[in-house]
Symmetry: C2
Subunit: 434 residues, 2 copies
């Protein structure tokens, strides 16, 4: 283990254990991608796992159209204080720490071990020695922050935000077959941490939770071990726990017009008090348990009929390649080639008045369910400009007609308003609170 | 997406979607490491993440002294049949599938999509396109398989194995401050899946669980997102959720004498009927919740005093480098430099009559605990030749004296007997059942 030589511009003691220092002169070598941009930064001639930094500030929040990282730690927080000042103070401290962590640094300079021997370390330290791993931290605000909501009708407007609430920000309606558990649902603030190293994502959430002591508490959190989405044209499509390619027909970052139409909130979408959301996006989270044992007993042809695509190539039924366009009109002797209750038929824009959403989900496995089965599924995340006219009608159609629903249980649900990106000096929620 | 050209020696239809085929001619390029050997195989001039295969058969089971992979999925199964034949049949099918999966293949050739359209696919498919990722599958048998045990005294000897039970295979005793939950503890058979891609580890456990339908059911399972151990001299020491380097003073695969003395069961250890364990090892699993919030409020010097090492470098207190040897005799005005109740003092062989164990644990985060905190900790795995004279006295000493116990809750516990490795043609448990 060789100690890196300190850079001349930083005092030795501060630099010694910084996450960056452990990798030497990365400060010079790191390529920074535009926030909301297309690909995570990579050092062209280096191991791509050692220096990836996604820019924290920019027009958009990172972590939405950013090339989907492999791992997720998602946390939903309840605000437990009534003090607006304390909440703002925490959001300011969070912003500074988040910016540092996405760079691959500790929450504060030298936080883990150079913060004073007789102080609690300012950084918990478990990411020391790990690089940025394309970490993105995306913040969102839930309906409950603004006063009463469907899931908590008696909640007071503690922070005087009721007038700033966008119409779109309200608890999702109940859908057919919903089995929503409040302990896995809702929340006042969310942070989505995505990274290519799970320890980096877990470290980020844990340190934010810690910095929020007395202001927020963790309502629920979810680890995702593998992405089920592709958000850029160059990404390979991963597979979900049903064994199918997932993310094929997703919106791609490069489709600027589509993204502007379906992902980013437009100035015309809100009255003046809710203009803080212009350029942001609504995050829908659904914890969907997948009943993998019965699924595994279904024939290949049944599985493919349910999805509407082939399992191997991921091609629309009747086609051969993943990127072939589905043709819903093709008929066989037994009815349409892509069945009337097939998932991709019901979810396709042609059958939803053109509606699209940006999917950004993750596979999960949370131990066993106490009945001898793995508790596995999809932590579904979608971003959209207006949940009411995008996610809601889509999920309504799927919940009532999709053949796949026989194998799914939606047991967690949440909606958050994710503001646009931060300009230099700005903090998370600034335009909401000021 | 280019389809690889089929190799001339394999029929096109079988090869088309095999996990291997998706990566082209890996069959030729893969370097196979000796089971129980030191490093996972790597293609020298390739991305190390695309072709790692650890040999499945050999003198030892892989996954014990094998270079610790980054991710874990551990499953404990209850045997739910009384049929010895069905159990043996499953173990034989498991062995064949495990051997294939560790090579990066599906559970059966073409299992996910070429197994017949009107059959349930023989492989669940979510690892299609992923490589072997150094997957190891390590099997172990719990006390309950052999009849009555401390945790289940009324259990009949369903499989006529009572006489084959090694003396060492019995439920661990209760330790001070234990808070063991049966739903996270015990089990008849375990499979430890370690890999550098979590989806590969999850896929393996899920497919074994599935193949065991009617014979076993999942009692509990645990995902570990980051290793906390080093098992070879070349591995960097990772960090645990207290932010400390973990694995520094671990046994290393290269220390042949130490490994033979403390890890592998010796012929002299057992009477004839239990000789099936010769060359094997006992796996101790402890799910240890770490109370990270109070820990995070402790001063750096308190944290370091509790561990007995520095947080930054991981050096023994009073020293500067991670690999310096601790000197427990050094005194300060306030008492010993490494406190009497420091974790590493109490766990060190000098203070335990020379006892050593091989640690192979993983960090976990399982959502939140319902009280606003992350449910995070260490899934402690240790291998030893004789738990009674190694793990038990060590944990007894730690449970009653270790200052760290203030921040720990052991809520899961299990012990499994892991037989030696398999010779060609052998199956998991063969020398136990025959
Ligand atoms: C566990 C639950 C789900 C599973 C396993 C699943 C699986 C899939 C699969 C395999 C595809 C085809 C490949 C692709 O285009 O990505 C797909 C497409 C799609 N899914 Fe899902 N999905 C689930 C839930 C949902 C939900 C809740 C929604 C939205 C309410 C949704 C919306 C879509 C959309 C919009 C498409 C693309 C349809 C198209 O334009 O072709 N899915 N899904
Ligand atoms: C969450 C619980 C635990 C944590 C956070 C923890 C942490 C640590 C740390 C930071 C070290 C020093 C670095 C190293 O040598 O690896 C260490 C060493 C060690 N730990 Fe633990 N440990 C835990 C539980 C246990 C348990 C249950 C045992 C065995 C009963 C154990 C046995 C050891 C041993 C044998 C050493 C090496 C001591 C030496 O020879 O210097 N630990 N542990």
């Amino acid at each position: 283990m060789t100690e890196p030589t300190p850079a001349p511009d930083e005092p030795t003691n501060k630099r010694r254990f910084s996450r960056r220092a452990l990798f030497g002169a990365t400060g010079a070598g790191v390529v920074v991608a535009a926030a909301g941009g297309v690909t995570a930064a990579r050092l062209a001639d280096d191991d791509s796992s050692t220096s990836n930094v996604v820019a924290f500030r920019g027009t958009r929040q990172a972590g939405i159209v950013t090339e989907a990282q492999d791992r997720l730690h998602f946390a939903s927080f309840d605000v437990i204080t009534d003090s607006r000042d304390d909440l703002i103070d925490m959001l300011q401290r969070w912003t500074a720490a988040a910016e540092r962590m996405t760079r691959g640094d500790e929450t504060v300079d030298g936080g883990a071990v150079d913060h004073g021997e007789y102080n609690p370390p300012a950084d918990t330290g478990e990411a020391l020695g790990l690089d940025a791993s394309s970490l993105t931290l995306t913040v969102g605000f839930g309906p409950g922050l603004f006063g009463p909501s469907a899931s908590d009708p008696d909640r007071p407007d503690r922070f005087g935000l009721a007038s700033r609430k966008p119409d779109a920000l309200k608890d999702l309606p109940a859908f057919a077959k919903d089995a929503i558990e409040p302990s896995r649902s809702y929340g006042d603030i969310c942070v989505q941490a995505c990274a290519n190293d799970p320890q980096v994502a877990v470290h980020a959430i844990r340190n934010l939770a810690r910095m929020g002591f007395g202001v927020v508490s963790v309502r629920w959190s979810q680890l995702g071990f593998g992405r089920t989405s592709t958000t850029t044209v160059s990404q390979q499509t991963p597979r979900n726990m049903f064994g199918f390619k997932d993310g094929t027909a997703n919106i791609r970052a490069e489709q600027t017009d589509v993204v502007n139409r379906w992902v980013w909130v437009d100035p015309a979408d809100n009255a003046a008090p809710a203009q803080w959301m212009t350029g942001g996006s609504y995050l829908v989270a659904r914890r969907i348990r997948m009943d993998i044992e019965p699924w595994d007993r279904a024939n290949l042809s049944e599985q493919e009929a349910i999805v509407g695509r082939t399992k191997g190539a991921g091609a629309p039924l009747g086609m051969t390649r993943e990127d072939d366009t589905p043709d819903f009109a093709v008929a066989t002797a037994d009815g349409p080639m892509i069945a009337r209750d097939a998932h991709v038929r019901l979810a396709h824009p042609d059958n939803l008045n053109g509606i699209q959403i940006l999917r950004r989900g993750y596979n999960f496995t949370d131990g066993s369910d106490g009945f001898g089965h793995l508790d596995a599924g999809l932590f579904f995340i979608a971003y959209c400009r207006d949940p009411d006219s995008q996610f809601v009608p889509m999920q309504k159609q799927l919940a009532s007609k999709d053949a796949m629903m026989e194998y799914l249980t939606h047991n967690g649900s949440a909606l958050f308003a994710c503001p646009p990106g931060l300009q230099p000096g700005e903090w998370w929620g600034q335009h909401l609170f000021t």
